[in-house]
Subunit: 355 residues, 4 copies
């Protein structure tokens, strides 16, 4: 490990830093004559980088060395940690496996949800998304069906065999949501809800963690670290667009972050083109761009009857458009030797070529 | 109220919209021949704007009319609602009253906190800030003293008579924090923690609500609406800088939002120049700019011995710098006939001129 | 055409608007009773949208109708204009043709440039990029070889047969640069240099127009309109990343803008993954994402000996990495039935499958 | 001077760096044993920082030392350069002098312009703004009266005695504009038009340089350096808002940048609240915030008859509002012992107190 200290650090502060390093199990030596570069040798632990960076007098941790955080791909010995593979029902995400999670925005009607679930499964989705608890900017907007929505999700899951991804908003709801969910969704607006992150970190249910809409990649990885450090290793990161200055898309899909994350962490990364675009007609190109940049999966809003969606801002795609996206993803996976994982019950060819 | 509907709306959707309008107590008529502009007449209620805007087929609510939300300044009859005045201990915020809340970032040592509290009170602060629960990007960073920090805050409050503003992060902590706090702080990273907003909305303790670092002004006002709609009318909005692209300041203080808010809402608005600047040397000019733009108060990080703060990024100002800021604020208030409210125990002249 | 007027417009202003409409050849009528929606019927011309939108009292042009701007895909009659196809030497861009333009950042040494040119041609590039005039933030940084750089470009073009894309910065240089260039590059920092845009619009040499790093898509299209309205129809738009808040990439590649542009304009759109990433290791995934989102080509910085590039910020890829990008692009084109155009002298299979 | 070199730099590159240092007149030595920190001793020159930072193998210039750039406030010897004071007609900007430049957006009618000029002079402005050449996003929008507009400006200047600030867009127009202008305005969209910056740097006419709407402070200072290095020392920087994500203001006025600039450079800094706000009702609070943050002046759009401005987006203030802004600025100056400079012909009390 290598720390840069302030150049004008009083002796007492320098001594405090050296003392903590010793307590953490390191031997230390200054490089050069200016007492600015401090080299630490020792076994390291995931919490050391943050603890040392927080110290008064430490300008920066230049080299993390062995003190690898839990999300990091590179190990202290220079090796690379293998990809984490997360399973959500039949969906397999990471390690060369690509899966598509699809469904409506909110759970409203059981019959309608079952219809969508069966349709997206046949088209190639391996997990069902749908919100029972909805985060809404306005207190007066529909907040989801809550417990009744969870019950519907449970029955549709039993009916269709699809794993369920659903959002949890409140740490007090983690237990109830966990009885139905095959993966907790942590929405973009909850990425810095640290109490909630700790609570889902105590479970052993996969967590789909969305990037906040102005969060840096480092902040996203540290949010994941809250879950990982609780002992829950099943974390999927999700890029869903950051807030930009142009209204032609609702958000700005950061494919560079996806590509960077594939090198920086062993955790799988998926893309939500629906929230990024905010427009049904751009979901397909953004889905393609995400997979081409290296994403391990997609989270897509699907509506069975796009003709019934009237709002200009509607971002849900219909079943035909969804099928075209699945075909594109299969073809893109083939370029890299990756596999689009589909349910055994899917009508699509499981590993077939692109038509 | 005036709604714009989609131009190609099927009859069944149009009928659904008309039905909800009727249920909400409105009589309706279309303006012009195109069935796009729908005029609603009726008493209105705070939730109608969001509920109508959410309807499929409604493009936009063009004119809110009588359906004023709780934060809005203008009433349906064209009158203006008087300013809300919020009291936090001796601090009075809003309605021409300006107050300064000051203190350290985190509560750490009781003696040190009492020393700072007395010093800032003497210099002109009327409330004490200090975090017992700290939101931290990294799970390995110091998260605050928690319950022990609350106990310290309680004892320092008894000792100094200063009202206490402290952050609450978890809805399960609202009761415990509320036993000490004269105002709950909702941090920028919790602005979209709707479960937490609802919980503090059930209390009758003032809420200092910080703008998320990429939240629009409308989103901030709707977050306030979560608290107001719970029956808690004591909300202070706080602008603390948005995320920008230039690293010379940590955040970009949005004085235009402050000025806009003063016209849009009757709620008081304060500015946090410390988090906006991220640099001690820029706190004073940003504090001045905030007050000059119309802010009703300041939230400032103060450290008793700036010489002990070594980090380049340190944003806490020393007591001398704080005293200069107080003098500036007093002079700026005089320009507008506003009053800088100070504690009776303050050594500063209560309403004196600028020296 | 459909205009929204201000609701409280005095009669004299309304009359002025009606008069201009008549002068432009329209007959007008108000829709509904409120004199807010003004419908115009007539042949239309490309300049009408801007001229009417600029009028005092006009809130918005709601529907452009027949007054199509030159870049627009949709015609007034509801038809779609066919794709513009731009040729730069052997490169063919647009209408299902994909081409790759590659080369060094700046022209420095003739032998080295010829070597790169031959290498990228063999690998699959069909045009050579290289700057003789370099826009630099600092007046003290190397500003390019200028006229000598143009001469080198001319000789390497003669030697290799590759078309040349090179930047022009000053309207007074357009003639000199045009003697060598097969396409003018207008850099991101010149997108709002309207005098320069007009000057290249007077030539009949293709223009590669880069999006400014905080320009909206509408502003990019209007910059193109400056060139098109001068009579030069050979414009290629280039997305190269917008300025974001996270430093893991230098810029934020806006693939949503690429996808939107493919629907909004008949002009071809390419992507510059090198400037977007600012890091050699992310050029390949961003190149793939751009093509997958629908881009008609790539502009890539290539360096023959990546081992000689030491800076952490270096964004040039080596020849091996470039060859992998070309193979990826060929495979991606095959998914859509698009063609990667390569030089006859290329050693790559012209329309072969992906290996 | 202190450079950080790459840790894995080959000997040949290190030798090249050392050679250039020697040619620039420095003696060098490595600090510590890792050959990463290179200390340079010598006289220094303004171009050295950029030239050394550009070298392959140089990670960063850690300490500029004596190689001060022309805009920098601190000198190599640790002293501070005195404020540059720029005069534009009667306006005096910098060194504790505050001036207000006011006028219409574009020059259209001579009588109307003379009327505005007289009115703003009486109210306290000391220079007149008005565009003869207008940068417009659309080629079809009104581009200004050009030469005829310059002639009008010249006659109004003769009539009123006010100095004239007017925009130049094209390097070929610098001579003609310079015959009328007391200061060239370089607009936000021209901040990276380096050919234009060099051209105005060859004159000895003051330059009012606006920050690009997504330019960093460093980029703004380097744009100023283009003018300064041409020998023109009369540069005024202007903050006019950066592009943000919220539409309640057109741009986001960056008062933190103003405060930072006052410490970083000896050049005067003014604020344009009109373009930042994009709304007449917010011009006054933003003007106040700018002056309170330390700005040396204001650039304000004034319209004589605000009742005639109908557009929602109108940002021009009327004469009454302008007079209130002038009174505010005078009072704010008094707080700091600064002087609001007014014309001898002004009807306002030249150095009077605030009423």
């Amino acid at each position: 490990m290598l720390l840069r200290l302030e150049s004008t650090l009083p002796r007492s502060d320098r001594d405090s830093i050296l003392l903590l390093c010793k307590e953490l199990g390191y031997t230390t030596r200054f490089l050069g004559g200016r007492q600015e570069l401090l080299e630490l040798s020792g076994p390291g632990a995931p919490d050391h980088r943050s603890r040392l960076a927080d110290l008064a007098g430490v300008v920066r941790v230049l080299d993390v060395g062995a003190a690898r955080e839990l999300h990091e791909r590179a190990t202290g010995s220079g090796d690379t940690r293998p990809d984490t593979i997360v399973r959500i029902g039949d969906a397999v995400i990471g390690g060369g496996n690509v899966s598509i999670i699809a469904g409506p925005c909110a759970v409203e009607d059981e019959g309608r949800l079952a219809e969508i679930a069966n349709a997206v499964r046949r088209a190639g989705a391996t997990a069902l998304r749908g919100g029972a608890f909805k985060p809404r900017s306005s207190p007066y907007s529909f907040q989801g069906l809550g417990a009744e929505g969870l019950a519907i999700l449970g029955r549709v899951k039993a009916l269709t065999g699809l794993g369920v991804v659903t959002e949890v908003l409140d740490p007090r709801d983690v237990e109830a949501v966990g009885e139905v969910a095959d993966a907790f969704q942590i929405g973009a607006r909850s990425m810095t809800n640290f109490a909630l992150l700790r609570e889902v970190g105590r479970t052993r249910i996969p967590v789909l963690l969305k990037r906040g809409f102005a969060a840096t990649v480092r902040e996203l990885l540290l949010a994941a670290e809250y879950v990982l450090s609780g002992g829950n290793e099943q974390v999927v990161l999700c890029e869903r667009g950051v807030r930009g200055f142009d209204s032609v898309t609702r958000n700005l899909l950061d494919v560079g972050a996806v590509a960077h994350l594939k090198g920086a962490t062993h955790l799988p990364v998926i893309v939500d083109p629906s929230h990024a675009a905010g427009r049904a007609d751009l979901v397909r190109p953004l889905a393609r761009a995400g997979i081409a940049a290296g994403a391990d999966g997609l989270l897509i809003e699907v509506h069975p009857a796009p003709g019934e969606v009237h709002s200009d801002g509607a971002q849900a795609v219909g079943l035909d458009a969804f099928a075209r996206i699945v075909a594109d993803v299969r073809a893109l996976c083939a370029i890299d030797g990756r596999t689009l994982v589909t349910s055994q019950l899917s009508e699509s060819p499981a590993n077939g070529g692109f038509q």
